[in-house]
Symmetry: C2
Subunit: 343 residues, 2 copies
């Protein structure tokens, strides 16, 4: 399917959502929501039940061509306000903006604003076109991970390893480095710190090394984690490695169309607690144009996992002073089948 | 100066600000604001006139040691609410949060919230300790740019170049890749698109190549842009290259303690307009723990540029279908003197 037809379909789905929520129109400013609906990452976009308008800076009027469904206009002061007034829009949805921007919009537009995550919810369900991009992205992440297994040895400097692995990921065609702050690589006791970043420090023979990386292709992220033992792991480490790998597989086994994401998280969390540890983060997250998007697979999440969704499952145990263990894959659900994109 | 003494000074400055704004306390959740005030990037932090409390997840109680100024507690549900109630805090400042989080906090805490950018304003003025980190960060960025000049030739693939340059930046000790989406490298007509990213495409002998990169050291970013002609630039390109380089120098010459940032922007913008073009972005931005922070050096900015501030100056001209030209440096102001960190 071409991106043009994709966009047509997405706009149709959005209009259905707006109608069912009783909303007249939605004004978008989140670049990834705009990218999802227009194919570009700039401007302000208003989708009403009848029309799709994008206001862009003069430069982009010349540079970009938009899908014919869009009425493309110059982004001048008050342009959006005038349009909304003229089209008699009464109830306008906006994204989850920063308070300051939200207040400014409210004042500027002088109309009721309804914060909504409609576009984010639509984005959670991927088309075949999107799943193919996720697959391509995942295949680059896997190349990076192969490199990690190859170079992580007794004496490897963490930062050097990260430079080498990110190099492979970029050369393989990732359009950005893995994630905002780069990939994560934490050896030995640093692995117990979820926030730890690679530093000028040598990996040791007795270490477990947590490696969390991804790639980006045509906007779509992938995300995977492996915990790599440098030498023969000690009995506790070997035990926890096996436990977490198995737990990940069991959690994935429990996923079926319609399952409540919070239930998957509760299962993982309880298993880790039964083992005598605490689970310090969410079981997983949706993935696509953002590394973290809907569905939320964490405590109390009421999100249902549905066919077409792409998400990670990433149980972990972190033992201060000792090590951390996490395994993570990017998965997608197709009908009743789970595909492991990073497997 | 040690980071401990830095933190003590920062807390003192923050308390002065709170007092002058008539605010009882500030509740922080922005990781970079928390890092600025605690040295770590986790938890929720409340600074009142009398006390500094940080609530962290159990894992971090074990993992991290905080500055002795902090009362470190486990982040349990309602912990913050109870503390605020018990300490009789009536007027609580919060950061510029997402609307959803803001509403949740208001409901959860049941007290007046005042959005403020106090911490961001304090962060705009750097100490000698911070300026030294910025200098180290800039010196890594310069190494990346040297690599760019070395490898950009007729026939170089854009994505390969980016992989090579980011590799140099990482190897030199940058703790993250340059910026969230990696460095920017755009050749020929792509240079006219401010949003363009490197892609599988060969640089040509007649191209100008816009290269925008940086590094990060102990949290501090640097940011620099050069426009590199591959061969002999055509007369128009040569002209604009010279014009923008000179304009950047002239803009920097106009900076002195107390100058209104909006005036610097107006100067740059008018010069570009007099030349027959439009200026499509801001003249610059503060830089530190965020790539973009205060001061704002854009249209209508009332921010004053003051000694201790670190910021970029980056004029540019973008000609659709032809090329883009931008030069950018990270600068700092010390008394009356401007230091070019990336020069």
């Amino acid at each position: 399917m071409s991106i043009e037809r994709e966009i047509g379909k997405r706009l149709g789905n959005l209009r259905e959502s707006l109608e069912s929520e009783g909303i007249d129109a939605i004004l978008l400013s989140n670049p990834n929501n705009i990218r999802y609906l227009t194919g570009k990452e700039t401007g302000r976009v208003l989708i009403s039940r009848e029309s799709s308008v994008i206001w862009v800076r003069e430069l982009y009027l010349e540079l970009y061509s938009f899908s014919p469904e869009f009425d493309v206009r110059a982004d001048e002061e008050d342009a959006v306000r005038h349009y909304i007034k003229d089209s008699n829009i009464k109830k306008l949805a906006v994204e989850n903006l920063l308070v300051s921007l939200y207040e400014r919009r409210k004042e500027e537009l002088g109309i009721e604003l309804v914060p909504t995550n409609t576009v984010e919810r639509l984005r959670a369900v991927k088309s075949d076109y999107e799943l193919e991009l996720l697959r391509n992205s995942a295949s680059i992440a896997k190349k990076g991970m192969e490199k990690a297994y190859e170079i992580i040895k007794d004496g490897t400097n963490e930062l050097d390893a990260v430079a080498d692995i990110e190099y492979v990921i970029r050369k393989a065609g990732s359009e950005t480095p893995p994630f905002m702050d780069g990939m994560l690589l934490a050896s030995g006791p640093d692995g117990a710190d979820i926030h730890a970043r690679a530093r000028m420090k040598k990996v040791m023979a007795t270490d477990l090394v947590v490696v969390d990386l991804g790639a980006r292709v045509d906007g779509y992220y992938s995300d995977m984690t492996r915990t790599i033992p440098v030498g023969e792991p000690n009995p506790l480490a070997a035990d926890i490695l096996e436990f977490i790998e198995n737990l990940q597989a069991e959690a994935i086994d429990r996923i079926h169309p319609g399952v409540r994401a919070g239930d998957i998280h509760d299962f993982v969390s309880k298993e880790i607690e039964n083992r005598g540890y605490k689970f310090y983060h969410s079981t997983g997250h949706g993935i696509g144009l953002d590394v973290h998007e809907l569905p939320n697979i964490g405590p109390k999440s009421e999100d249902a996992l549905e066919p077409g969704m792409a998400f990670t499952i990433e149980p972990g145990i972190y033992i201060p002073g000792k090590f951390g263990v996490r395994f993570e894959d990017t998965l997608s659900m197709k009908k009743n089948k789970i595909e492991t994109l990073t497997g």
